[in-house]
């Protein structure tokens, strides 16, 4: 294909958008809405996972042993804890180490008085879990061991984060699927209307021997441009709103600022992914309508 033909096809593609600007605008608006919801759901999911991962970096569970449990028996509990399936690693802390944590708060005199037999604390273990979603089962298994007094309870945070992630993933997926179908419908109708409005030109093109591919290219360009423009606008909206929303959320939950991704980290992947999704949806919608149209009513030339 010659360069002038390529230029001509691009010109035709943009002419389609201009001539059919109201439907093109409707497609862009719907696609932007779909992409903003999709992108937001994806970013929430990514950030929740990031928070969960950062939680995993800390010792997630503290196992308090009974104060009367001897140091020897306390140490013997280590391998038993390690044998529990979801326990990735453990760290032993003696009752003296625990008391030291409170030295400042207690003051030197009280701290000295609590040394030795006066130490009310028991020995403890800090555990790291493999899968936070199995938090409850793991805690129950730990509590069945002899010598365990209590287990620190961070199940609320873990549970909420797991549920949030599940919600964002599942609900987001459904919303995206429904919107994707709606968008496909709108875009395929836009292209169908464009093709219908140009049926006259298409019949002339067919009569002079234009191939279906040649006829389709301007419409493919139209659908691609609609998808690309929607992708770029949607990512611009998301990127510009990301930092304010993140700061606002950090005001409620402090750890969000340190555990979530910054705008600098997300802008490029967001822009690229959104643009690609926009193009893909645009193309798919365009191709569906074109194949149907050119094989049926768009095949007529003499038309009588």
């Amino acid at each position: 294909m010659s360069f002038s033909s390529i230029l001509y096809l691009f010109k035709e593609g943009f002419r389609n958008i201009y001539n059919n600007r109201m439907m093109s605008l409707a497609s862009v608006v719907v696609l932007i809405s779909c992409l903003i919801i999709t992108g937001s759901a994806a970013l929430i999911s990514v950030n929740v996972n990031s928070i969960i991962a950062s939680l995993g970096d800390d010792d997630q569970i503290t196992v308090y042993l009974k104060p009367e449990l001897s140091d020897l028996n306390s140490i013997k509990l280590g391998p038993e804890l390690s044998a529990i399936k979801n326990v990735e690693s453990y760290k032993y802390r003696s009752r003296d180490d625990v008391l030291k944590d409170y030295k400042k708060a207690l003051g030197d005199d009280i701290y000295e008085a609590m040394q030795g037999k006066g130490n009310p604390f028991g020995n403890e273990y800090k555990l790291k879990l493999r899968d936070l979603s199995e938090y409850d089962e793991t805690v129950a298994a730990i509590q069945r061991l002899d010598g365990v007094d209590t287990v620190s309870d961070r199940s609320d945070v873990a549970g909420k984060l797991t549920k949030l992630n599940y919600f964002v993933t599942v609900v987001g997926l459904w919303v995206v699927l429904v919107l994707a179908v709606v968008t496909l419908f709108i875009i395929s109708n836009t292209i169908k209307i464009t093709m219908y409005s140009r049926r006259f030109e298409i019949s002339i093109m067919k009569s002079v021997g234009a191939t279906n591919t040649f006829i389709r290219i301007p419409f493919i360009i139209e659908a691609t441009v609609i998808g690309l423009v929607s992708g770029i606008i949607a990512s611009a909206v998301i990127i510009s709103l990301y930092e304010p929303v993140r700061s606002a959320a950090a005001g409620v939950i402090g750890m969000i600022n340190s555990s979530t991704l910054s705008a600098e980290q997300i802008w490029l992947p967001t822009l690229l992914t959104m643009s690609l999704i926009g193009i893909a949806i645009g193309l798919l919608g365009g191709i569906i309508s074109m194949i149907r149209y050119l094989n049926k009513e768009g095949g007529a030339i003499l038309g009588k």
């Binding site: 030109e201 002339i204 002079v208 003499l302």
Partner: protein, 303 residues
């Protein structure tokens, strides 16, 4: 060039549009296809351009078997043809130049060739200087000449004109027909579907009549048209009542038509090898009066 053997076309709704048609059209022939409305003329054309596939029989055009041709090859078959429509089918958003160029651009011709050949073909049809005008600014005759230019610009071997004079005044019809004859003299096979018996009587040639889907007759009648004379009155039929072209036409198509055979279409000549009489099939001889009866056109049925 065109060969049909026992061709029938039955549409999915059961309508038998063509029945057992057998005919040959040779390279360089000028053929009228006549017959009443609903006779099967349009279906005949649709089979030739492979808009429809024949239900039975054998059909080949320009050496291509239309019964077995792959879908992807149909556009290339159509590139060997030019089609002139009754309703001109010009794109009003485009000027004259772009309307004609559209046919070349649609098959991916380079812009340099487009510019060169469109200018040449507009000269052939006598529309030089109208390049920047919109179709709506032109008279019916001029519009049909733009349509003709578009059909010619890809240098077709066969020119199919589907009621080319159906939407224009009788006097302009005569001019369009003269152009078609001149194009035929360049070696292009011309097939004209028409209802207008006066034109058939004047220009003569091979006349194929289709009635109720069947090949009713296939005659050759002598022409009354003398290309050396440029007006209908001078064309050999003293009874003609047509008037000269209206003044709305910027150029005189009569003289342009007379000169078509002398003009090169493009950078490379597409004229027939000898430009003389075609190597016609062997239709029966008939008189103009016979054909008048054959065409069976009632007054007012100008569709």
């Amino acid at each position: 060039m065109i060969h049909l053997e026992n061709v029938s076309k039955v549409y999915p709704n059961g309508t038998e549009a063509l029945k057992n048609i057998t005919l040959d059209i040779s390279k360089g022939e000028f053929v009228f296809i006549v017959g009443p409305s609903g006779a099967g003329k349009s279906t005949f054309l649709k089979l030739l351009i492979r808009e429809e596939k024949a239900s039975f029989g054998k059909i080949s055009v320009n050496g291509r078997d239309l019964m077995t041709i792959r879908k992807g090859r149909i556009p290339y078959l159509r590139r060997t043809m030019g089609i002139v429509f009754q309703d001109f089918r010009l794109i009003d958003k485009m000027n004259v130049f772009d309307n004609v160029a559209f046919a070349m651009r649609a098959i991916g011709e380079p812009e340099k060739a487009v510019r060169k050949r469109v200018a040449a073909v507009l000269k052939i049809v006598g529309l030089e200087g109208t390049e920047n005008r919109r179709p709506r600014e032109l008279s019916g005759g001029e519009q049909q000449r733009v349509s003709l230019a578009r059909a010619l610009v890809n240098k077709p071997e066969i020119l199919i004109a589907d009621e080319p004079t159906g939407n224009i005044d009788p006097e302009l019809s005569f001019e369009i027909m003269k152009m078609l004859v001149a194009i035929n003299r360049r070696g292009t096979t011309v097939i004209v579907v028409t209802h207008e018996h006066e034109l058939v009587r004047t220009f003569g040639g091979r006349v194929i009549r289709i009635a109720e889907g069947e090949l009713d007759s296939d005659h050759f009648i002598a022409t009354r048209y003398n290309p050396e004379k440029s007006s209908p009155e001078q064309a050999g039929d003293e009874d003609q009542t047509t008037e000269p072209s209206p003044s709305s036409d910027d150029t005189d198509p009569s003289s342009e038509a007379a000169n078509i055979a002398d003009i090169d279409l493009s950078e490379e000549s597409t004229a027939g090898s000898d430009g003389g009489q075609p190597e016609a099939a062997e239709p029966n001889e008939a008189t103009a009066e016979d054909i008048d009866e054959d065409i069976e056109i009632k007054d007012g049925d100008g569709q």
